[in-house]
Symmetry: D2
Subunit: 303 residues, 4 copies
C-alpha cells in the first residue's frame, strides 16, 4: 500500500486512453495537487487552458474492463487563498424570457481562509456583508477512460464519470466507476471550495487543492453508472439531458444495486425508494446534467 506523490508534467482537457502519467498497485494511495478549472495553479501560474485540466491518467495495475475502480477520497487540502465563481446565474436556470434582463457575466473572487476553513467574497456585496461559508471541498471532475477508446471533454460527463459537479464528491466519500480500459486510467481535477446544488452560476468556488485518494480494483463488477457512499448514505449518478433522463439512469442503477447487494427485488426496492429516496441535482449547467439518487444507509442491510 504505497503512497505516491504525483506531480503532473502535463494536464488533459479530455478523459481518454492516453499513456499513463503514473502507474500504481491496486490499493495504493495517491497525493496530487490540482489546478483550477482554467488551469491556474496554487501560485497563480496558468499551466494549461480550460476546460477543467486533469491530473492523470493513473494506471491501476490489475484493472480490466468489466471491473469497478473504487476511489476513496481521503482528504482535500486547499492550497490557495483565493477562488473564483461566475457572478450571474446561467441562462439555462431561469425562465427564457428573463434571460434578456440578466446582467453581463463576469468573474468574482472569493477569499479562502485556510485557518478557519471558511470562504467569503473578496469584495463586499450589498446584502451579503456577513456571508461566510464553511469550506466544503469537492472534486468537480474525475473519471476513468471511457469505453471504445473514446476521449471526452472534461466539460461534460457520462457513464465513466467526468464533469459531474456534485457536492457529495468530497472527503470521506467512496466512489465506484465502471472500468472500460486496462488499468482504468483515472483522472481528476476541477476542485471546488464549496458549491450549491446545480452549479447554477456555472462554477463552484474554483480553486486548487491537494487531493489524496486511494484507488482499488473490484473485479467483475456490474456497475454501469458511478456509485458512491458517504458515512450516512449510498447514491448513484446519472449524467444526461434532460434532467429526467439523468434521474432515470440514476434510479435504474440504484435498483440494480439494491438487487445485487441488498437482496431487494423491484417491488421491495420500489417500496423502499418510493418512501425514502432523495434526489440531488449535481449540475444543471454542463452539457450533460447530473442527478444523484440517494438513500440513507440506515434503511439498508447488506445480504
Amino acid at each position: 500500500m504505497t503512497l505516491h506523490r504525483f506531480v503532473p508534467t502535463e494536464y488533459h482537457n479530455v478523459i481518454g486512453t492516453f499513456p499513463p502519467a503514473l502507474t500504481i498497485a491496486d490499493g495504493d494511495t495517491v497525493v496530487t495537487e490540482t489546478v483550477d478549472a482554467r488551469g491556474f495553479d496554487a501560485d497563480g501560474v496558468q499551466r494549461k487552458h480550460g476546460p477543467n485540466p486533469m491530473n492523470g491518467p493513473i494506471h491501476v495495475a490489475g484493472a480490466e474492463p468489466g471491473d469497478a475502480l473504487r476511489v476513496e477520497i481521503l482528504s482535500m487540502r486547499p492550497t490557495r487563498d483565493t477562488g473564483w465563481t461566475g457572478n450571474v446565474v446561467s441562462a439555462g436556470v431561469v425562465d427564457p424570457e428573463i434571460v434578456r434582463a440578466l446582467p453581463p457575466r463576469a468573474v468574482t473572487t472569493w477569499n479562502i481562509d485556510r485557518e478557519t476553513l471558511t470562504v467569503h467574497l473578496a469584495e463586499p456585496v450589498k446584502g451579503l456583508e456577513n456571508f461566510v461559508l464553511p469550506l466544503a471541498p469537492m472534486i468537480g471532475c474525475f473519471g476513468v477512460a471511457p469505453k471504445l477508446g473514446q476521449a471526452i471533454s472534461t466539460a461534460t460527463s457520462a457513464e465513466f464519470g467526468g464533469n459531474m459537479d456534485y457536492r457529495l464528491f468530497g472527503p470521506g466519500t467512496t466512489v465506484w466507476l465502471p472500468v472500460a480500459a486496462p488499468g482504468a486510467l483515472f483522472f481528476l481535477g476541477d476542485c471546488h471550495a464549496t458549491q450549491g446544488d446545480g452549479e447554477i452560476v456555472g462554477t463552484g468556488i474554483e480553486t486548487t487543492f491537494e487531493v489524496t485518494v486511494r484507488l482499488s480494483v473490484e473485479k467483475r463488477s456490474s456497475i454501469v453508472w458511478p456509485r458512491g457512499e458517504t458515512e450516512t448514505d449510498i447514491f448513484t449518478i446519472g449524467n444526461a439531458r434532460p434532467l429526467e433522463q439523468a434521474l432515470q439512469h440514476a434510479t435504474t442503477e440504484m435498483l440494480a444495486w439494491l438487487a445485487s447487494d441488498f437482496g431487494l427485488d423491484t417491488i421491495a426496492a420500489s417500496h423502499l425508494l418510493g418512501q425514502v429516496v432523495r434526489y440531488d441535482v449535481g449540475n444543471v449547467y454542463d452539457p450533460a446534467y447530473t442527478m444523484a439518487c440517494r438513500l440513507e444507509k440506515k434503511w439498508l442491510k447488506r445480504t
Copy 2:
C-alpha cells in the same frame, strides 16, 4: 379569528371557480377531514372517484386577484389505520428499455400506527422486515382557483398550486399562493402519511387526515409561483415538464423573492444561490413535474 369545522358535502376533481362550500374571514382557521386520493374516507367509504378529490372551495373574504393567500399548515392528524401505495416504480423514472421488465402494477397496503406515529407494510416483504417509517404527513394537492376562470384536474399542477406532491408541504410549513379569483377559493386533499422525493411509485402512502390550516390574505403580492417557509428554510415551487423547466420557474421565483424581501440584486442572489441553494424534486410522476428551489434562512436577513 374563528375556527371553522368544515365537513364537505361534495368533493371536486378539478380546482376552479365554483360556488364556495365555506366562506371565512381573513385569518380564520379551518379544520377539515380529507379523503384519500381515490376518494375513500376514514371509514373506508368511497365518497368520490379519483383523481384526488378536494375539500373546498373555501372563500376567504377580502382576497382579490393580485393578492397572495397565506396558508399555514397548523396540524395534520391521521384518521385511519391504513394507507396504500403503488408497488412498482413508474415507467417514467427508469431507463425506457427496462420498462419491459417491470412487474405489473398493483396496490399495497401499509399500516399506520397512530400511537407511535409510524408506518409499515401490512404484509411482510422480503428484505424489508424492519422497515418502519416515521409518520411525515404532507398535503399532496392543494391550491387556489386558477386565472381566467380555468378549472384544472387535481392530477396536475401549475402556478395556482395543485398536485405538487412535495414532502415539505406538512405541518409547520407556511405556503403562499397567487390569488386569481375573488375569495381565492382554496382547495385541499390527497394527503400522504409520508413520501420520498419524486413520488416515484405514483403515490405517497395515501390515507385520510384531519387537517388544520389558517388562511390569510396578503394584499398586492407579486408572487407568480407558490412559495413556502419552514422553521429553517424558504422555498419556491415550479411545476412543469421537463424538470429543468420546473427548476427554471422555481429559480426565477426565488430571484424575485430575494430581490423584493431581502434586498439582493441578481448578482448578489447569484452569489448566494450559487453556493448554498438546494433543489428538491417534488414529483416526477404527475403531468407537470414539481421542483423546489430551497434556501436555508440562516443565510438571509429581511430588509
Copy 3:
C-alpha cells in the same frame, strides 16, 4: 344537414363545459366569423381580451363521452386586409445564452391581399423586399370540452385539442377529437393566414376568418389524441413538453390507429413507420408543444 350561420355574442378564453351558444344536429355545417388572437374582429374592434378568444361552444346532438367528433374544415375565407405577427423569434427556440442579444419584441403588420390570396409585410424590411407568401389558412386553436369538467386556457393544449398551432389544420383537412362531455361542446378561433413550423415567433399571421366546418359524431371511438386526414396524409397529434413527450403521444396514437383501422400489428406498423413516417412540429411556443406523426395514405389500405 342544416347550415347554421353562427354569430357569437360572447367569446371564451378557456375551453370547457359552458352552456351551448349553438346547438346543432349531427352532420350539420356551421359558418362563423372568428376574431384574432387578441380579440379584434374584421372591423378592428376588440370584442374580447386574449388569449385566443373562441367562438362556441357548439353542442352537437348525440355526442357522448367516448365518441369522436369529426370536424371537416370546409373553407376559411379571410375577412380583413391585415394580420400581425411577433417580430422576433421566441427565447425558447434559440440557445439560452444568445437570448441576451435578441432585440425587444414588438408587433409587425402584414397586408393580406384577398384577391391574389397572398400576404406580405406592410412596411419594407431590408432583405425581404420580395417576400410574398401564398395565403395558407389554418385554425390555430380549436377543441372540445375536456374531461372531468375541466376548463383550460386557450393558450395551451392537451388531448381535447386546444392551441395546437399546426399548419395542416386548414381547409380540406378532417380532424377527429375525443368527446368528453355531452354534446362535445366545440370551440374554435385564433386563425392564421399562414405559419411556419413551430410558431417560432409566437404567432402565425394573426387575423380574422369566416370559417365553415361540418361537425359529425362517430360513436364509440377509441381515440385518445386528435387525429387528422388531408387529401394525401393521415396524422396524429401529441401535445406536451418536452417535444419528445409530444412525439411519444402522437406515435402511440398512430400505432393504435394503424392497428384498429388498417390491420397492422406493432411489428408491421414499426416496419411501416420506421421507413416512411414524418414528424411535423406544430408549435414550440405554447405551454404544451405540439408534434404531429404523419403518414402518406398511399402506404395504407383500410381493412
Copy 4:
C-alpha cells in the same frame, strides 16, 4: 482534382484525431465502400464490430481549425442485395407505460432490388404485402475530428457531425462541417437504403454502399453546427437532448447563416423563418437527438 479510390484497412468506432488513412488535396473526390452499422461488408463478412464502423480518417490538405469542410455527396450506389432493420419502435418514442406491451426486439431482413432501385421486406408481413419503397440512400454517420482532441463514439453526434441519421444526407446534398483538427480528418459510414423521420426503429435499412464524395476546404468559416444544401433547400443541424435543445442549436445556426450570407438581421430572419421554416426530426433514437432547421431556397437571395 484527383479521384481517389479508398479501400480501408481498418474501421473506427469513434471519430477523433487518428493518423490519416488517406491524404487528399483540397477539392479531390473519394470513392469508398462502406460496411453496415454492425460492420458487415457487401459479401456478408464482418470486418469490425459496431457501433457504426467508419471509413477514414481522410486528411484534406490545407484544412485548419476554424475552416469548414465542404462535403459534396456525389453518389451512393448500393453494393448488396439485402439490408436489415430493427422490427419494433424504440422504447423512447411511445408512451412509457405502453413499453411493457412492446414485442421483443429482433432484426428483420429487407431485399434491395438494385435494378429497380426499390426495397421490400424479405419475408411477407401481414398488411404490408405491397410495401415497396424507392431506394433513398443516405449517410447515417459522418463527420470530422472534434475539438480538443476528443474521440467520440459513432453512436452519438455533436457539433462535428457524427451519427445524425437524417434522411437529407443523401446524393445531391452538400454539407459543411466545422473543422477542429488539421486536415479536418473526415470519416463516413453507416449508410441506409432509406429511413423515415426519427429513425424510430433504431435503424434505417442498414446496408453497404459505394459512396462518392468531393471534399473541399472553405477558409475562415464561422460555422458552429453542420449545415447543408439540397437542390431546393438549405438546412442547419442541431444534435442534443431534449429535442428542443437540438432545435435551439439548429435555429441559432440558421440565424447566423441568414445574417452572414443573406443579409438578414434577427428581425428580418424572424419574419422569414416564422412563416416558412420547416423542422425535420433526424433521429430520436441516438444518445443525442438530431433536428434540422430547413428553409426553401426560393425565399432567399445571397448578398
